[in-house]
Symmetry: C2
Subunit: 293 residues, 2 copies
């Protein structure tokens, strides 16, 4: 989305020409435009549409990635942005917080926010994305095949991760993932009984289990990741076409639903040189290290 006017007016009692978002992409020079005293704003109804602060955030993101403010440039002050977008300062702050989380801008008391990346720089629009969605967003065609779907009983680690009792029934799925037809990753996922039953009932050529599961109301909203190195075993070597014992980039992941119930415990092994993991961290939180994986 671009600068302005491409959003529907959703407010009421507001008398801006049209389009609910002020033009910021074309704004770095402004600061003129006499401000007629505004009638007190009443909260706008968002009525089922995109939250206002996300619209503001996306507009600003567009302006930043389009290079409207060079790298290292300072953003307008919060009050100024609030005026331009005709929203409250709180909403602007919420939008800016989102951009900060994505590592697009800094934030410090006393000085204006600074644009971190640059026009050319890839925006790490991170998300809790499945392999499938991630690949598609890159314009790559994700593929793969399900090697096996087996019912079984949880071992110690699976039980701990899925927060069930050892010996409880689970389903194990082994899949090979490809990108543009080339093998990239071997995925070993353990599902608790209920979720696994759904997976087992899907056609073996299902590209994205997570998308299908979402249709059944199984949502993945949180995930905890651990990244390290693991040697390829015989299966890995056969499927990925590498040497047994070769070092692979390993991601272990436990996903949970909104109720906090673990819905997936997965171990993915990537062929070296195919992918890298990226993360952004600020003074508060983001990436950790851990001893003895």
């Amino acid at each position: 989305m671009g600068g302005s006017g491409d959003r529907v007016e959703r407010g009421r009692r507001r008398s801006r020409p049209h389009g609910s978002l002020g033009p910021v992409n074309e704004a770095p020079q402004a600061a003129d435009a006499p401000r007629e005293p505004q009638e007190p704003r009443t909260p706008r109804r968002t009525s089922g549409r995109t939250p206002l602060y996300l619209e503001v955030a996306e507009d600003l993101r567009g302006a930043i990635t389009a290079g409207a403010y060079g790298s290292g440039a300072r953003l307008p002050a919060e009050d100024e942005l609030a005026r331009r977008y005709a929203v409250s300062r709180g909403t602007v702050r919420q939008a800016l917080a989102a951009l900060r989380t994505d590592g697009l801008i800094t934030s410090r008391r006393g000085i204006r926010r600074v644009v971190l990346g640059g026009p050319g720089e890839e925006n790490a629009a991170t998300e809790l994305r499945s392999f499938t969605r991630w690949a598609r967003s890159l314009g790559q065609e994700p593929g793969g095949r399900t090697v096996s779907v087996d019912p079984g009983t949880a071992d110690g680690e699976e039980a701990e991760q899925l927060r069930i009792a050892a010996g409880d029934p689970v389903y194990r799925v082994l899949r090979l993932r490809t990108l543009a037809g080339e093998p990239v990753m071997v995925e070993r996922t353990t599902y608790p009984r209920a979720v696994g039953a759904l997976v087992a009932g899907m056609p073996p050529d299902t590209v994205s289990y997570s998308e299908q599961l979402a249709r059944h109301g199984v949502l993945f909203t949180d995930a905890h990741h651990t990244i390290d190195i693991a040697p390829a075993d015989a299966d890995d070597a056969r499927l990925l076409g590498c040497r047994a014992g070769e070092a692979l980039l390993r991601e272990r992941r436990r996903s949970t639903d909104p109720a906090g119930t673990p819905v997936e415990w997965s171990q993915d092994r990537y062929l070296p040189g195919t992918v890298a993991f990226t993360a952004h961290s600020t003074a508060a939180s983001a990436l950790g290290r851990r001893l003895r994986p």
Copy 2:
């Protein structure tokens, strides 16, 4: 910090017995205690102390990690927490947002927040921490030695990462990092001229450059990380005591200061089996993958 009473009363016009934070650790059973009508609260002065929302967050964190609410338990409603802590709902929400970022709780419209981890589970108290601080927080003694500090000129990648011109002067530092005396990681850092000059002036046995730099006003507030695999070169092999060509866990990192100026571009290579990287992701943002590292 624990439940209550270990904080100084900082408010005014408030008539709670003493201690500014209500006892939540001992609260899961409450919900009784007749509420006398409160006089309207006025914003409390934080006057140079820890922000209120952080106190609330830390108290809740303590309650959660202490297991006051079992894993999967639901937290009290926002309004209820606001009453207990005698703060506004906004402040409670700010505190809860911090816990959510750390992956301690979920959050979904319509239902109470759910505790994610469990009593036993290690809290991934992630931070933008230097190797030194990270090691110390684990009770490990960080060590190492500086192999070389060399002035030089920026190559293409360094220039791009540090946002300077190719050929500009830089300092390159090669260090070996140890944990309990054992080699763990080789760190290759490139500093821009000004920062590098400070580093070059420090004694060669300096354990933490970042701590020393902080004293000179050079702060690391943001960092962008990329994690993948790289083979050990001759230096790596010699310093880490591994085979040349052996796969190492590589972290590349660009750190910036509050003004958005890059202050460090580093490439760290960890011996396999020594550390793992952890991250938490929610529906919005956290960990990314990237093609072709």
